[in-house]
């Protein structure tokens, strides 16, 4: 059972990651694209727009709690710090 659970957690992390709201938003946008197509509207533009909005929301959520890198390196355009998390 623990192996099955570990595999399920791995699959969730691989596909959904740590932001389920973005994954849900993408599914809803795809459903909307299909529905709009069925009423005769070619909504190829919808998904790219939703991606930009979802990415902005997701980045906003992440930056509220994110750890920091040294400012001097950011000024130089190379924010670098030893990575202890990955």
């Amino acid at each position: 059972v623990s192996h099955v659970r570990a595999f399920a957690v791995f699959c969730r992390d691989l596909l959904v990651g740590d932001d389920w709201r973005t994954a849900l938003g993408l599914v809803l946008a795809l459903v909307a694209t299909i529905l709009l197509d069925q009423i005769g509207l070619r909504a190829w533009w919808l998904l790219p727009l939703v991606i930009a909005l979802l990415l902005a929301r997701s980045l906003r959520r992440s930056t509220r709690t994110a750890p920091t890198a040294p400012t001097s390196r950011i000024r130089a355009g190379h924010p670098r710090r030893p990575d202890a998390t990955e």
């Binding site: 980045l59 930056t63 710090r81």
Partner: protein, 250 residues
């Protein structure tokens, strides 16, 4: 167009994951000897090849539109994760991965671990190398299988991944150290953009909607997503600098 982009995505994704796997294997091998970790690498590579060989052709048995919808959606959520993390690293909100530090930590852990030799094999070294390559390689396998489902180009994606594997392993064997100079985050940003573009393209096609300009729309998508990405990186970088000037820790 899509063939070149597909090859680039598979090659770069595999290269960046294999750079991380190489650091693990080099750290173990340089401390505990090379035989066991190299056997671990061979076993993990064989397992990944078997996974791709089993799932890749099987996907082609499914209806193409349904397949593109599902594979596109999965690739899209997967690619957006790469993109989001790469933007956070590029803007300084997340630390960059440091291969030299990871190599040092790996060596320390390998030296501290007790010997576990059975049947002429150091099982600690074997298991660590196997897990390292397998876990890094599973993401590559997922990408290759997705490309097979979305575009029917399993041989091309497999060849790109194999070329990256050989390149990274060859450079690693020459350098005998972690490939710290590889611009990992720029590569991850590029891969994230490519995967998100392919995912969007296939998901919309799978939904039954045709893109204007057919495959050329991929380039338009890539340009749009690249512009959005670089705008976010600049905005977040500027925001962090202004916070620092005000003395606010974010």
């Amino acid at each position: 167009v899509s063939t070149s982009l597909l090859f680039a995505a598979a090659f770069l994704a595999c290269a960046v994951e294999m750079v991380e796997a190489l650091t693990i294997v080099l750290a173990i091998g340089s401390v505990r000897g090379w035989r066991s970790p190299l056997l671990g690498v061979a076993a993990a590579t064989a397992a990944l090849a078997a996974l791709v060989a089993a799932l890749g052709p099987a996907l082609r048995l499914l209806p193409i539109d349904m397949l593109r919808l599902v594979v596109g959606a999965l690739l899209l959520t997967f690619g957006l994760q790469w993109l989001r993390k790469a933007i956070l690293r590029a803007s300084g909100y997340r630390p960059l991965r440091d291969e030299t530090a990871a190599f040092r930590r790996g060596r320390e852990q390998a030296a501290a671990a007790a010997s576990a030799e059975r049947a002429g094999l150091d099982w600690y070294a074997f298991t660590l190398a196997f897990k390292g390559v397998l876990l890094e390689g599973l993401e590559v396998a997922f990408i290759v299988i997705s490309f097979s489902g979305g575009h029917g180009r399993l041989p091309l994606a497999t060849a790109a991944a194999a070329a990256a594997l050989v390149t990274v392993a060859g450079v690693g064997a020459l350098v005998r150290g972690p490939l710290a100079r590889v611009p990992e985050n720029q590569l991850k940003l590029t891969v994230g953009l490519l995967l998100t573009s392919f995912g969007t393209f296939w998901a919309v096609e799978g939904a039954g909607v045709h893109w204007p300009g057919d495959e050329l729309a991929l380039l338009g998508l890539l340009a749009f997503l690249a512009a959005v990405t670089f705008a976010f990186v600049r905005l977040l970088r500027r925001e962090r600098l202004s916070f620092h000037r005000l003395g606010v820790e974010v």
